[in-house]
Amino acid sequence: MAAEVLVFNLLSGIAIVSAAAMIMMRNPVHSAIALVITFVNVAAVFIMLRAEFLAVVQIIVYTGAILVLILFVLMLVNPDELPDFHGARPMQQIFGFGLGIILLAEIAVAILTRTVVAEPGPWTEDGMAAVGGNVQAIGQVLYSGYVLPIQATALVLLAATIGALFLGRPDEDEEPTPSRRTVATISLAHTRGSDQDEIPALSSANIKHEAGDRDLIMARDADEFTSTPEDDQKGQQE
């Protein structure tokens, strides 16, 4: 089945190239798009490996949710703040690539020299077809042998949701201040109240008498539009 190998090589070639592009791109949005391409190709590889369900899940979760969220965050970040790829740490990059090459060599040797031996299981293509397909097969195995891990995963997801809500809540570093006093004015044009810096917070001492006895001021000129605290005191003395 040379065709199969051909298709596989094509898909994995695209995946690897776009993954490499992902880490080489300067613009993180381009990186994200490269990663989308990688993921879609990986999903196709999954289909070749008889994992249709996981392929779809891969697309829905990784490309449809996680990467969209990453893009989302990327766009919220000011592009000017993005650090350079070719930053001030050349040593770091040399070491990074060096390590990558060594590790690749090691794993290549491992893959080529070692073989994995294991008992083949029952889930061949026919085996899966017998229960109705990949989804049904996964469902049977998952909900018979992995009930507890499923529950644990649900808890992890719940905890993550709560954690995200906690992390994403608005800043609360501002002390809740007592509500500012608003100056009741009838404005024709410019209110003096808005020009004043800040009107002191209403204290409990003067809140009571102010609540009821403030009348509507019919303004004749601009100075009368606003009643200031001094005015209030005057009014009380009278």
Partner: protein
């Protein structure tokens, strides 16, 4: 190689994993590092699914499923942290975040 062999997907997995690792090591943008981590997780998934395919087992696929679920949780938390970070420090440069040094 005229047939699809385990070596195929193992090389794919290794290559993607190492590319992700190199990305984590060399990039400074937290978001890109984040994407690289996702890539590494996917690389591991390829291994799992590949072995599941080779031995006609489903255990590998189920592990991959769990990895995807956990990756989703990780992404949510990670992005939440990044959001908090940008709000507080106005940066996504990982080298500027070094409070732990104290």
């Amino acid at each position: 190689m005229n047939e699809l062999m385990p070596e195929h997907f193992m090389f794919l997995s290794a290559a993607l994993f190492i590319i992700g690792m190199v990305g984590v090591l060399t990039r400074r943008n937290v978001l890109v590092i984040f994407m690289c981590v996702e890539l590494m997780l996917t690389a591991v998934n390829i291994s799992f699914i590949g072995f599941a395919w080779e031995f006609s087992q489903l255990t590998g696929q189920i592990f991959a499923l769990f990895i995807i679920a956990i990756a989703a949780a990780e992404a949510v938390i990670g992005l939440g942290i990044i959001m908090a970070l940008t709000r507080q420090r106005d940066t996504v440069d990982i080298d500027e975040v070094r409070e732990l040094r104290q």
